[in-house]
C-alpha cells in the first residue's frame, strides 16, 4: 500500500517534505531524506484509508 502511494505521488511527497521541513526549521540530511519521504508516504496513505469521518474528535480519550 505504501509503495503504491509513493509510486503515484513521489514528487508531491518530496515537495511536502521540502516545504514543511523548511517551515518547521528542520534540517534533513541527504542520508535521511529517502526514509523521511517513505515514512511520510506511509502516513499519508494511512490517512487516506481513514478518510474523514463526520464525528467530533476524541482528543483525550476516556473509554
Amino acid at each position: 500500500m505504501c509503495a503504491q502511494t509513493l509510486a503515484g505521488s513521489g514528487e508531491e511527497l518530496e515537495e511536502l517534505v521540502r516545504h514543511a521541513s523548511a517551515v518547521l526549521g528542520l534540517a534533513i540530511t541527504e542520508g535521511d531524506r529517502p526514509a523521511v519521504v517513505a515514512h511520510l508516504g506511509c502516513l499519508r496513505a494511512f490517512a487516506a484509508r481513514v478518510g474523514d469521518p463526520a464525528e467530533e474528535p476524541a482528543m483525550v480519550f476516556h473509554p
Binding site: 514543511a20 528542520l26 526514509a35 515514512h39 506511509c42 494511512f46 481513514v50 478518510g51 476516556h62
Partner: protein, 465 residues
C-alpha cells in the same frame, strides 16, 4: 539456539508470603536477584541500569519492618524492574535515548514505582527499550538489541522488550512496561510471559517519559496470572498528578481470580484479526483456548483503518513532542527512529484530526460489539519472535515489514483505551504464541479470570519451567 533461564524465579505472591512471615530475608532475595542479573544480562542485553544500593536499602527496610512486627506490604521483598522511561529518584531517565544528556536525576519516583515501593516491592533494575518507545523490536543503537530468553537468536519484541525478557528469563518475577500500540503485549507474546495493558487512565503515567499523550498506557508483565493480578491491584487507582487518570475504581483482581468463566460471553475476533495472523499462530491460539469453548466469531468493522489511524496519531504526536530536539540534536537520535519522528512532525493537521475523529467512530462500532460480548479473544502478534536482524516477516505468503506490522493485532485496543491482556501459550516449535483478551473499560479482573481458567486448564506457559 540457546535459551537463557536464570530461575526458576520465586513468584511475586510466594516471595511476599515468605518475606512477610520472616522466613525469607528480603535482603537475600535482593542479593540473589542482583547477582542473577549480573550473570545473565551480558547475553540478553535487557538491563540498562542496576540499582544495587537502592535495592539493598529497600530490602533492609522491609526486613526491619518484618522484624518489628509491622506490615511490610502485599509485595514485601518482591524484586522488580521497570522500562527505563519510568522516573527513578536520583537517576536520569534514559527513555532509550542519549538525546538529553543534560537531563538531571529524576527528583522523585514515578507514581507507579512509588506505589510498588510503598507496598514493599524492591526495584532492582531499569530495562532496555526502543528509543523513546518508538518501535516493536528493542533494537537500540545506543544500548544494544535485547535478545529473547527463549532463543537468543530471536528478538524479544518491543518496545518494552527488556521488561519482557527479564521476566521470561526468571531474573525478576514482574516488571513494568508501557504500551502505545502494543509495546507491553507484543514483547509479552514473543517472550512467552503475561502482559497487561490496563484501561486508559486506570494506571498512572505520572513520572514516565511520554511517547504519545493520546495513546500511552503503563502496565505490568509477569509469569503467572496470580502475580499479574497482585501487581495490578497495587498499581491501579486515581492519581492527581496524571491529567488523564480516571476516577473510576476498578475491582481488585486477585480476590476474583478463581471465579472461572461461567456466565461470561466470549467470542473470537474475526475479519482483520484473522486475516493478518499467520495460520500456524491461529492454530496455536485455537488449541490453547479450546477449554473456553468459544464458538462465536464477531466481525469488527474498521479495525484495519483503526491501525492506520493509530499510526497517524502516534507519528504526529511523537513528531511534535520531539520537534525542538529534532531541530537542534537530530543526529543524536537512533538512526532508525529519527526519520520516522521527522516524518511525524510533517503530518498535516487535517490528517491528524481525521484520525482522531475516526477514533470516535471506531469506539462506537466496538461498543456495539460489547453489548452482547464480554471478552474478545484473538492472537496478540501475527507471528512468533522474528530472528535478530530480520526486517520482514512472512504471513500467509505475504511479506510484511516487522517494524510496521508486529502491532497489527494490538493497535486497535490501545487506540480505544480498552483493557487487553496477552497470555503466553505453546506456539510453533520452541517459540511461544500470545493469546490476547480484550474487554470493556475497567474489566481487567474479568480478563484475568479468563486467563486464570486457561492457566488452570494447562493451556498457558506459566512460571519458569
Amino acid at each position: 539456539m540457546s535459551a537463557v533461564l536464570a530461575g526458576p524465579c520465586v513468584s511475586v505472591v510466594d516471595t511476599a508470603v515468605e518475606v512477610g512471615a520472616g522466613r525469607l530475608p528480603a535482603v537475600d532475595v535482593a542479593r540473589r536477584t542482583l547477582s542473577a542479573v549480573e550473570s545473565h544480562d551480558a547475553v540478553l542485553c535487557a538491563v540498562t541500569d542496576l540499582y544495587r544500593e537502592r535495592a539493598l536499602a529497600d530490602a533492609e527496610r522491609v526486613d526491619w519492618l518484618v522484624g518489628r512486627g509491622d506490615d511490610p506490604g502485599s509485595l514485601a521483598g518482591v524484586p522488580f524492574a521497570v522500562k527505563n522511561l519510568f522516573d527513578v529518584q536520583g537517576h536520569p531517565t534514559r527513555a532509550g535515548s542519549v538525546v538529553e544528556p543534560d537531563r538531571g536525576p529524576a527528583p522523585a519516583d514515578a507514581t507507579t514505582v512509588r506505589r510498588l515501593r510503598d507496598h514493599g516491592a524492591v526495584l532492582v533494575a531499569a530495562t532496555n527499550m526502543d528509543e523513546y518507545a518508538h518501535g516493536f523490536t528493542t533494537e537500540n543503537s545506543h544500548y544494544g538489541t535485547t535478545r529473547n530468553p527463549r532463543d537468543t537468536d530471536h528478538l524479544a519484541g518491543g518496545s518494552s522488550g527488556g521488561s519482557a525478557a527479564v521476566v521470561a528469563a526468571g531474573l525478576v518475577p514482574f516488571a513494568l512496561g508501557s504500551d502505545t500500540n502494543g509495546s507491553i503485549r507484543v514483547p509479552a507474546s514473543l517472550c512467552g510471559v503475561f502482559g497487561l495493558k490496563p484501561t486508559f487512565g486506570a494506571v498512572s503515567r505520572a513520572g514516565t517519559t511520554l511517547f504519545v499523550t493520546s495513546l500511552d498506557h503503563v502496565g505490568p508483565l509477569a509469569a503467572t496470572t496470580k502475580d499479574l493480578a497482585a501487581v495490578f491491584d497495587v498499581l491501579v487507582g486515581a492519581d492527581p498528578d496524571d491529567p488523564v487518570s480516571t476516577t473510576v475504581t476498578a475491582e481488585p483482581a486477585l480476590p476474583q481470580l478463581e471465579r472461572g468463566v461461567d456466565g461470561l460471553r466470549l467470542a473470537m475476533a474475526g475479519g482483520h484479526f484473522l486475516e493478518v495472523a499467520g495460520e500456524e499462530v491461529l492454530t496455536a491460539v485455537e488449541a490453547a483456548v479450546r477449554p473456553l469453548d468459544v464458538h462465536r466469531v464477531v466481525e469488527i468493522a474498521g479495525s484495519s483503518e483503526a491501525c492506520a489511524a493509530s499510526s497517524v496519531i502516534t507519528s504526529a504526536e511523537a513528531g511534535q513532542r520531539h520537534l525542538s530536539r529534532l531541530r537542534t540534536r537530530a543526529q543524536d537520535y537512533d538512526p532508525a527512529v529519527r526519520p520516522a519522528l521527522i516524518a511525524g512532525a510533517l503530518v498535516p493537521s487535517a490528517d491528524y484530526l481525521a484520525a482522531q475523529r475516526f477514533r470516535r467512530h471506531y469506539r462506537d462500532v466496538v461498543q456495539r460489539v460489547f453489548q452482547d460480548v464480554d471478552v474478545l479473544v484473538m492472537a496478540t502478534t501475527p507471528c512468533t519472535a522474528p530472528r535478530v536482524g530480520e526486517r520482514v516477516m512472512q504471513v500467509r505468503d505475504e511479506e510484511l515489514s516487522i517494524g510496521m506490522s508486529l502491532g497489527l493485532l494490538t493497535q486497535p485496543w490501545a487506540f480505544l483505551g480498552l483493557p487487553a491482556l496477552s497470555i503466553p501459550v505453546r506456539g510453533i516449535g520452541h517459540l511461544p504464541v500470545g493469546v490476547q483478551l480484550v474487554g470493556r473499560p475497567h474489566t481487567e479482573a474479568v480478563l484475568l479470570r479468563v486467563a486464570r481458567s486457561l492457566e488452570a486448564a494447562g493451556s498457558t506457559l506459566s512460571g519458569w519451567s
